[in-house]
């Protein structure tokens, strides 16, 4: 999705850097070369872990299990047959006679780890936040136990030795480059952007058509593959290992790199691995007690651990996102150097298409109970394309709950929602956008750490049926244009003013190409000028695109002048329905709602 010239630079620079470092290390030889091999392998693993944890926002303790599985799987395949007979006499027949070269063994082992990741991911991708993290921890413990238990294949807790030492500096460098390139590409790929959007706000991501579980699963499997690559390389570097090599101690060592560098970017993986490695190398030379400026320092083993601990603390205090922050190096530097057209994909600035003939949206006797409390009680509303329906009522009258049910965010307790002849209540939330229903949220739910354009693009790319990327980009551009956000497209969403954030939410909804648009208090936080401009846009959306708009707001002047029809809720029940004028004069409404807000009535 990035311009080719941008991508070339962002991938070529790390590739050349790794190769140059490898060449230097190989010239230096000896301990330096070995140190760099370990560094490249660690960086491979860190980048792989970051691909999942960084983009999904779910910290994983479980990735070392894929490293271990791949190390064992590849080692069983590359172990010389004679050694195998000697050390693994009870190996199943199909493995006992199998011998592969390093490369095919590596590929098979990575595929094996990815297959295991697919199975475990089916469960883990369903869990949220800390539950998912704990599940990854369980995975680490279970796989550790399984490796020990599979004694005939793994020699249990004992040393698995005799593995050919195939990993030299060039193998390590190549593996590392693969990991860096895949990680960088994934971040700005379509699934990468969708996953990052769901990291920022799972609810808004769902409402934007993103199937979060699928995106998480994909990243989980892919990252397991990269970490597995590191495992194969490590196994064939050490030549001997046991299950404890792929357990807590190493998990925390790699997580330290990930956290210090910043887990959301490839840059962070590199910065973290470099920082921790440099600090370790400096401190471990000091621990033996050195002569420094004529002073004999005492011998203090354990200095490296103390140092790493302090860095993590410092980073957590001063820069929670890690030393590299949340942007890639190329995102900071290249736009300035290369003067890219920031609105790439603006080739055909198609306007948003007018609404295709859509059936009426009907909610029949919707009820929502929250353990005893009836928030919405048998409310029926309908919305046609080309009309603006206002939904008003005092605080706590059930407006947002009703909206959440019609948009699929909340399951209904009873009643149903139909679109034309089709019953749509009960479908998963990310399917609603495909039905032409898009929405905004009362308490703004933007993908905060993504740019305005990425916010809108994430939705455009998740529309159903799926379309070519160029078409989605064009629609995102058009949506930004509609909401007059084009000049703010490159800004991070969380840096915008309140009013602008509301407009980004609407642009994001528009990018889904909806027939129906639900707006929950879109004018809250806007001044009168901004509100008027918004009303202007909403009228055009109705008139030019034929959208059916359902709007919840407390701003009565806005409701009265904008809406074709108004529905009034009170204490979860529908108490009036009609034109703004009819509703305003309805005695029930006056008592329940306008009566208590008499001043506002006068203004209206």
């Amino acid at each position: 999705m990035l311009p080719r010239r941008f991508l070339t630079f962002s991938l070529l620079v790390p590739t050349l850097l790794v190769f140059a470092t490898a060449a230097l290390a190989s010239t230096a030889g000896g301990g330096v070369e070995r140190m760099m091999i370990v560094f490249f392998i660690s960086l491979t693993a860190v980048a792989g872990m970051g691909l999942y944890s960084g983009n999904s926002g779910i910290l994983s303790f479980g990735h070392l299990s894929f490293m271990g599985l791949a190390a064992y799987a590849s080692a069983v395949l590359t172990l010389p047959l004679q050694m195998k007979k000697l050390t693994l006499p009870n190996l199943p027949a199909f493995l006992a006679d199998a011998h592969f070269d390093f490369l095919p063994a590596m590929i098979l082992a990575v595929l094996f780890a990815m297959a295991v990741a697919l199975l475990t991911g089916l469960i883990i991708s369903r869990l949220e936040g800390s539950a998912a993290t704990i599940a990854t921890l369980a995975l680490l413990i279970i796989v550790h136990g399984v490796i020990i238990g599979a004694r005939d294949i793994t020699r249990g807790s004992q040393s698995f030795f005799g593995v050919p030492r195939e990993t030299g500096i060039w193998v390590a460098a190549t593996v590392c480059i693969i990991a860096l390139v895949v990680t960088r590409l994934f971040r700005d790929s379509v699934p990468g952007l969708r996953l990052r959007a769901s990291r920022e706000d799972p609810i808004a991501a769902g409402a934007s058509g993103i199937g979060i579980k699928r995106e998480r699963l994909l990243a989980w499997v892919l990252s397991a593959g990269l970490v597995a690559l590191a495992g194969v390389a490590l196994g064939h570097f050490l030549g001997a290992f046991s299950p404890k090599k792929f357990y807590f101690v190493d998990t925390f060592a790699l997580l330290a790199m990930l956290i210090v560098g910043g887990m959301t970017t490839m840059t962070g993986a590199v910065v973290g691995a470099v920082t921790i490695t440099v600090v370790t190398e400096v401190l471990r030379r000091l621990e033996g007690g050195v002569q420094l400026l004529g002073i004999q320092l005492p011998e203090v083993f354990g200095l490296t651990q103390i140092g790493i601990g302090l860095i993590i603390l410092l980073v957590m205090f001063k820069q929670r996102e890690g030393l590299a922050g949340i942007d890639e190096w190329d995102e900071r530097i290249l736009p300035r150097l290369l003067k890219f057209n920031s609105n790439a994909g603006q080739i055909n600035t198609s306007v948003l298409e007018p609404t295709r003939s859509a059936g009426t949206l009907k909610a029949d006797s919707l009820t929502k109970r929250f353990s005893g409390l009836v928030a919405v009680d048998q409310v029926s509303v309908s919305l046609r394309p080309g009309e603006i329906l206002g939904l008003i009522g005092p605080n706590g009258s059930g407006k947002t709950t009703l909206l959440n049910m019609i948009s699929g965010v909340l399951p209904v307790s009873s009643g149903g929602v139909r679109l034309g002849e089709k019953i749509i209540s009960g479908l998963p939330v990310h399917r609603f956008s495909g039905l032409g229903i898009a929405r905004t949220f009362q308490n703004i739910r933007l993908f905060e750490r993504l740019s305005v354009r990425q916010n809108v693009l994430a939705a455009a790319l998740s529309n159903w049926p799926r379309e070519p990327v160029s078409q989605a980009q064009a629609r995102a551009t058009a949506a930004l244009d509609w909401m007059e956000l084009t000049d703010k497209a490159q800004l991070k969403a969380d840096t915008l003013s309140y009013g602008d954030q509301r407009r980004v939410e609407i642009a994001r909804a528009l990018a889904l190409g909806p027939n129906y648009l639900f707006l929950d208090e879109p004018a809250a936080g806007m001044n009168r000028e901004e509100t008027d401009a918004l009303m202007q846009i909403l009228r055009r959306l109705r008139d030019e695109l034929g959208l059916g708009i359902l709007i919840v707001d407390h701003d009565l002047p806005l409701i009265v002048s904008l809406c074709d029809r108004v529905t009034v809720l009170n204490e979860g029940q529908l108490i009036a329905e009609g034109t703004p004028e009819e509703v305003q004069s309805d005695p029930a409404v006056i008592t329940a709602y306008l009566g208590r807000k008499h001043r506002e009535e006068n203004v209206a």
């Binding site: 000896g30 370990v38 001997a240 404890k244 090599k245």
Partner: protein, 388 residues
């Protein structure tokens, strides 16, 4: 002098100077890449303590044979195999004459190939797996009584006591905990019978299934042999005695810890093998008082003496080789016979790198240790190392 020479600022220059010094043959450099932090530190730490005492003692007397001073370069490998491999390579780059590697087989294996390629003799501080020196190459040596040797000593003793049937409790989870299988081999060779075997998992706490099996045996086995240690052993022995089984229990050096002596009545009479026992007038007693004198504290583990032994072995090899050339030292080690260490006489001649050392048999009595004997193992009885 165990000064850390490889400083960040002056590393290269000093390394070169060091190499030049080693070549002058009035000095031998030992590269000590051991785990001073992490999971292996409880073993490598004490070994290196004893190691330093021996180095200081020899240097104070003018060096090996009165002329060759010992220099050491210390590196902490943090109980990690990859770090061991890096540190070992750095020591090889610094032209050390002898390498000392961690206690565990993983890091030792990772470094063994580097030592082998550089043709520098290497010792694991205290690994007891007889596979290590065999699979680690010609330059890899161990410094601890092998599991098979320990088992030979205890099996022979048991047979001498008139025991004729044994029950083996072992765990295939680690090489060490399969030691009872060696015991079984020797015991059968001597004419005894194995009345049963049971396995357990490391960390297992509930031994009721195993104990029930033993309890049901008719007749009861004369002896129960296990290499279980904490937390398995205390749990097992308590449950065994609670079930009323009175057979002799034989253990191995894994239970030579204060815990065993604090178990009370249930552990009474348990006999186990260990690397050494300080009888009055013994070398170990002498070492213990030297240790107290140098460090101001009591030696709490036999691993201190094991470290001391290692330097004695290296010194004897250097003296025997008459040279500090690593290959000459390697050949000299392989021919060493009856080197007097703190724990025992040590012999490498005729072995594949696993030293023949005396093994002490100790009985738990009244919460204290009682020496049963220090028999030399019968070489013909020692079973061949098992690869799996």
């Amino acid at each position: 002098m165990h000064r850390f020479l490889n400083s960040l600022l002056i590393g290269t220059a000093m390394t070169a100077a060091l190499a030049a010094g080693a070549a002058a043959a009035d000095k031998i450099t030992i590269g000590v890449a051991t785990a001073q932090t992490g999971g292996l530190a409880p073993y490598d730490g004490p070994v290196v303590e004893g190691f330093r005492i021996a180095v200081d003692e020899i240097n104070a007397a003018g060096g090996i044979g009165g002329k060759i001073m010992i220099e050491t370069i210390d590196k902490d490998v943090r109980s990690d195999a990859a770090q061991t491999s890096i540190a070992t390579q750095e020591l090889v780059d610094a032209d050390v004459n002898v390498l000392v590697l961690p206690c565990d087989a993983d890091p030792a294996f990772a470094a063994a190939s580097i030592a082998d390629a550089a043709k520098i003799p290497a010792f694991s501080t205290c690994a007891s797996s007889p596979t290590l020196p065999i699979m680690g190459g010609d330059y890899m040596f161990a410094n601890f009584p092998g599991d098979n040797v320990q088992a030979t000593v205890s099996a022979q003793w048991s047979h001498d006591q008139g025991h004729r049937s044994v029950y083996l409790l072992y765990s295939p989870d680690s090489q060490y905990t399969t030691l009872p299988l060696y015991f079984g081999d020797v015991f059968e060779k001597l004419g005894g019978t194995i009345s049963g075997k049971a396995t357990y998992k490391l960390e297992q706490q509930d031994f009721s299934a195993e104990v029930t099996k033993i309890k049901a045996l008719k007749p009861q086995p004369d002896v129960i042999m296990t290499a279980a240690y904490e937390p398995n052993f205390p749990a097992f022995i308590k449950q065994l005695r609670a079930a009323g089984v009175t057979s002799q229990v034989i253990g191995s050096d894994g239970i030579d810890s204060p815990t065993t002596f604090s178990l009370g009545e249930v552990a009474e009479g348990v006999v186990f093998t260990t690397a050494g026992h300080a009888t009055p007038g013994s070398e170990l007693e002498k070492f213990n008082s030297l240790f107290k004198e140098k460090t101001g504290k009591d030696s709490e583990t036999v691993f201190n003496a094991i470290g001391y032994d290692l330097v004695k072995v290296i010194a004897a090899a250097v003296e025997g080789a008459g040279s500090t050339d690593p290959t000459a030292i390697r050949d000299a080690i392989a021919g060493l016979e009856n080197v007097q260490g703190a724990t025992s006489l040590i012999t490498y001649k005729g072995t594949q790198g696993m030293p023949v050392r005396e093994v002490s048999l100790v009985r738990v009595k009244g919460g204290d240790r009682e020496l049963v004997g220090q028999p030399a193992p019968n070489a013909d009885l020692i079973p061949a190392p098992r690869m799996q």
